[in-house]
């Protein structure tokens, strides 16, 4: 079901705000994983601002929905969202990457409120998510677990151990996203180590897989709702995204995986974002 125009507008405004803040933090901290943070943003805005149940004042509430950013290098984008929601004072993000700061490139749940698992090393999030989901089932808890994995991350074996296990254990209280921005650090995934056909791979492992435009809130919301209804198979949403989405000089370029911004680039980046949202 399509989102109501007011809700869609609000999500888009939120996504713009988050993207602007990612640019600001990247500028002040000297460098961040800005490309992947931009590609994952709309998925995470939909989850945090529409679907997930949580209380920023009680970050460890047992009934909260869980979120794991398995592609932990997107931490800058995750931190910005958690700050925006009030898990901590946003001003703390001024210390991002600084010596002794709770915020590094990869977020640590022991230091940053709202983070459910410390990630960074790839290939860990899905297994942790399965553990959380199976713990919910065993203890009759109703929370839902969401995991976002990168597409380059899927080169790694541990993910496929987890993908096999999720089907075997019929983990249906978890929704997985693949942030399919088609680029890893060294270049296009299909040149470095091809992951396609990804949908068929998941299906052959016993998952229900759908493919969407990961920057279209209607499609994202619809896929999440579908995943909640699925009671037989684990559910993956392959979200086709653009690395650096919204910043014209970054879009689709692997070199913006991790980068710093000077004053002029920051201005251009913010201007590009505003142009994109002005055009809808």
């Amino acid at each position: 079901m399509a989102l109501k125009p007011a809700e869609l507008k609000k999500l888009k405004q939120t996504a713009l705000r988050i993207r602007e803040q990612i640019v600001e933090v990247t500028y002040t901290c000297g460098g961040a994983h800005i490309g992947g943070a931009m590609s994952q943003t709309d998925i995470m805005v939909a989850l945090y601002y529409k679907f997930m149940k949580f209380d920023p004042k009680k970050p460890l509430l047992p009934t909260r929905d869980r979120f794991i950013l398995s592609k932990g290098h997107g931490g800058v984008g995750h931190a910005v969202i958690l700050g925006d929601l009030g898990f901590f004072d946003q001003k703390e993000l001024a210390d991002f990457n600084k010596t002794g700061s709770p915020f590094g490139m990869h977020l640590d749940w022991l230091k940053v409120k709202g983070v459910d698992a410390s990630t960074g090393s790839l290939g860990h999030g899905l297994s942790i998510g399965i553990g959380m989901s199976m713990a919910a089932r065993l203890q009759n808890k109703k929370y839902h677990t969401y995991v976002v994995v990168g597409d380059g991350e899927l080169h790694g074996g541990p993910n496929w151990e987890a993908i096999m296990a999720a089907a075997h254990f019929k983990v249906t209280n978890m929704t997985t996203f693949v942030d399919r921005n088609k680029l890893c650090i060294d270049g296009p995934t299909e040149e470095i180590m091809g992951v396609e056909p990804l949908k068929e791979k998941f299906e052959s492992f016993g998952w229900k897989a759908v493919e969407i435009d990961g920057h279209d809130f209607d499609q994202i919301a619809d896929a999440i709702e579908q995943s909640h209804k699925e009671k037989d198979k684990p559910f993956v949403i392959i979200a086709n995204t653009i690395k650096g989405k919204g910043i014209d000089f970054m879009e689709g370029l692997a070199k913006w995986h991790y980068a710093g911004l000077d004053e002029e680039m920051k201005k251009q980046a913010l201007a590009s974002l505003r142009r994109m949202y002005k055009n809808g």
């Binding site: 047992p62 410390s118 297994s127 942790i128 713990a135 203890q139 987890a162």
Partner: protein, 336 residues
């Protein structure tokens, strides 16, 4: 009887460490309702499968996939469960070391690891199924507690103690049948981090861990027949290490031999060396174990003998260390 327990096991003379571990874990399952057991296609071999009989819903076999094994355990520990994970030491400590570090230790998740078939105890299986590096790997992981029980009764006590211990614990046990060191489960004091003094002595101290402990006691008896007074410590906890017990041995005997079914690099002997070096007190230390080599194939007891980790090897080492006349040419008292 161990603290807080309403049961004991006193007929383990014919049981391996792993068999008694399976029994104990099952009993603990009734006390700890949030206890869950996980393995990677080694339910039978590690004996964790015993738990499955009583608690099928709380038992998870992930197949031969150890990285997922520890990731899932981490997620479960993060969500109110108390996961106990069992597989062979070679797989727990080496194959998925980064998952143990990142998912369990770094995130401070309360996961208990019972690693079987450690050292050379899976004799005939050879190096791929031996593990002579796990103490080194595990003691380097911040927050990990590392225990190597000497016999089945000590294993029982270690598993019980681990349940109440705050944070991740790595317990390495063997595969083979080891002669019981203790009379029964309650005939000795067991506390994580406290070495068990098995024998007093004034000439030399043998510090042993895991399946080499019974041989150390036997060696001390053999040496006693030669007129030597040998102190024996069962250092079941490698981390946190019992500094007090080690320093007492340094001051009383000034000659120490360590014995471990492990590479002598970075294992228990190295942990003891750290303590001695930091103290500034003089002491000779000889480390028995694998001398930085991969293990050969053989029966487990034969391998203890081959690598001089049995009573014969320890007696030989005692002779070598006692012959050292380092005290003769220096004013020893001034050195310490």
């Amino acid at each position: 009887m161990a603290k807080g327990l309403t049961w004991t096991i006193d007929d383990a003379d014919h049981m391996t460490q792993a068999e008694i571990y399976g029994e104990v874990l099952t009993k603990l399952g009734y006390e700890y309702k949030n206890l869950v057991a996980l393995t990677a296609d080694l339910a039978g071999s590690t004996k964790i499968g015993r738990f499955q009989k009583d608690f099928p819903d709380r038992f998870f076999n992930v197949g031969i996939a150890e990285m997922n094994l520890f990731g899932m355990a981490s997620g479960m520990a993060a969500s109110g469960l108390l996961p106990v994970v069992s597989t062979f030491a070679a797989f727990a400590a080496l194959r998925c070391a980064e998952h143990v570090r990142t998912d369990v230790c770094y995130q401070k998740r309360n996961v208990k690891i019972i690693a079987t078939h450690s050292g050379t105890s899976f004799g005939q299986a050879g190096t791929t199924h031996h593990c002579t590096e796990d103490l080194a790997v595990m003691r380097a992981m911040s927050g990990m507690t590392v225990i190597a029980p000497a016999d089945a009764y000590e294993t029982a006590r270690a598993v019980v103690a681990a349940m109440e211990w705050d944070g991740p614990v790595y317990i390495r046990i063997g595969r083979s049948f080891e002669p019981p060191l203790h009379k029964n489960m309650d005939s000795f004091d067991f506390e994580i981090g406290k070495a068990i003094k098995l024998r007093e002595g004034t000439d030399i101290t043998v510090i042993a861990t895991g399946r080499t402990v019974p041989g150390a006691v036997e060696a001390a008896e053999m040496a006693a027949n030669e007129g030597l007074s040998v102190k024996v410590l069962d250092l079941h906890t490698i981390k946190p290490i019992d500094v007090e017990a080690i320093m007492e041995a340094v001051m009383e005997t000034r000659r120490i031999i360590t014995v471990e079914d492990h590479n002598v690099y970075s294992g228990m002997g190295s942990a003891v060396a750290d303590v001695i070096a930091a103290s500034g007190k003089g002491c000779v230390l000889k480390k028995l174990g694998l001398q930085d080599e991969f293990s050969i194939v053989g029966y487990p007891d034969d391998l203890l003998h081959y690598y001089k980790m049995d009573a014969d090897g320890i007696v030989e080492a005692i002779g070598q260390v006692m012959k050292m006349d380092f005290e003769a040419d220096e004013d020893w008292e001034d050195e310490i």
